[in-house]
Symmetry: C2
Subunit: 282 residues, 2 copies
């Protein structure tokens, strides 16, 4: 099963580093979508098994339909689909196929493995499921990340500073005179040869977000942690916005996915993000 | 779909930290299996899409049947099954179900995510697919690992020093006066409250293997990298063996999975591992 709905012509292969310059890079696609939607909102699709949102596929489609006017991106969380086995993976493909082509789908899978295995994960995410981008874990190093960014049309958001309390365990350890998450950001900049590398930075650590923006002025940031996890929206936007007033995706999952009126919740958050942007741009 | 074939009675739940003391811990199960098989061999099940091993399920079953006399564990690589979509995940479940109950199945998935998401990955690996253990990425910290080890019957092998060249990118950075992989090992020791935490250490870095064994005398090591990746078997065994002459699983994938005579290849490697053990024990 190939997901052809969301596969731009000529972009199916992930193994070729040759760039077809008639196709936009991931950055161009993301920036175009942000500008045309006038939104930096990313809606997380996290069908927790304990919640009663049966059937999952219908609920996800309803969320997408209700929020598509306000969201530039969707972030399905692979784990909650995998927990339903093969049927869950089929549901995930169907949900991704339901997202319009002019929105961005980021598969939140946090993959990372060596060489040919990373290539198989990239193929699963991009060719099989039709995602535009994937979240990637950097611990295994260069050769665990590069297979995900061989195709400039597809993007990878590298875990840099995550939103959870456990982020302190290793990401704040000092290496080479700065925290490990800064070292990861520095390395990600060197990986970004074809404008398709982004970073994951939790809204719960706005000072870290600002520090990374200081060394990575043009990389897009995927920012979870606003809402249920307690991140301060205005602080995150102020810390993460780029010189164009874009460059970040504020991701909300539970606050929209389980809302009584998901469209209203999405509009409210989109508007709050844009208000915070405007006060920064001014 | 629940995989009941490989689920010991009372062990289905992953969310309870209460230990049923009538059930063996993961360490006890692993050590029992090593002793009864007189083998430290783990056979990797890596159906690379470019190889012609169609259909994958049949090939994996043939490999298991041909090697079960010589192997104590099997390590299916999730990526190569995921790359075939929902059908691939069904194949993975069927392949795991084919492994006898007295052998250990380690799902090589390198998962890592926060709280409820990690719990969903654990449910997918243990309850849905029926694996006994999973490989886990430590970058997100404590709360990304703990959900995988809540059930003492199930194990997690934490990535410590991987076998790839990119392992140098971050794992060798000095933190707190020693390399990051040593810090990860130290943290894994503290996580190991119910005898079910192991470490992944590549055979390609025997000095690192020995250093970690020096601080973690009782943790089991999963050791890939012998064979195609060039790791020296005798050096890896000498560096990784525990005081009982066990405590490590030497994993071979391509050298057995694509061999003309997989049984013979498995026997040869099992015997070579045991010879290296004996010269260490003497």
């Amino acid at each position: 099963m190939m997901n052809e709905l969301r596969t731009p012509a000529g972009a199916a292969g992930t193994a070729s580093a040759t760039r077809d310059r008639t196709l936009p890079t991931f950055y161009e696609r993301l920036d175009d979508a942000m500008r045309s939607c006038e939104s930096l909102l990313c809606v997380g699709l996290d069908p927790h098994p304990r919640e009663t949102v049966d059937p999952i596929a219908d609920h996800c489609r309803r969320i997408i339909d209700a929020t598509v006017e306000f969201a530039v991106a969707y972030k399905p969380n692979s784990a909650f689909f995998e927990a339903s086995g093969p049927d869950g993976l089929a549901t995930l493909a169907a949900v991704i196929a339901h997202v319009p082509d002019d929105r961005i789908v980021i598969l939140d899978a946090k993959r990372g493995d060596i060489g040919s295995t990373a290539r198989a994960y990239a193929s699963a995410a991009f060719d099989m499921l039709g995602a535009d981008a994937i979240t990637v874990n950097p611990y295994l190093g260069d050769d665990a990340v590069l297979p995900f960014i061989e195709n400039p049309v597809r993007g990878a958001f590298v875990l840099c500073h995550t939103s959870n309390p456990g982020a302190m365990s290793f990401q704040h350890l000092v290496v080479n005179g700065w925290p490990l998450y800064m070292e990861v950001a520095g390395r990600a900049i060197t990986w970004n040869e074809t404008c398709n590398v982004g970073l994951v930075l939790g809204a719960t650590y706005p000072e870290s977000l600002a520090a990374v923006r200081g060394i990575a002025p043009t990389l897009p940031f995927l920012v979870p942690g606003v809402g249920a996890q307690g991140g301060d929206l205005a602080a995150a936007v102020a810390a993460g916005i780029d010189d164009n007033g874009r460059g970040l995706l504020i991701s909300s999952s539970r606050g929209i996915f389980f809302a009584d009126d998901p469209g209203s919740s999405a509009r409210t958050l989109r508007d709050a993000i844009n208000k915070a942007r405007e006060s920064e741009i001014r």
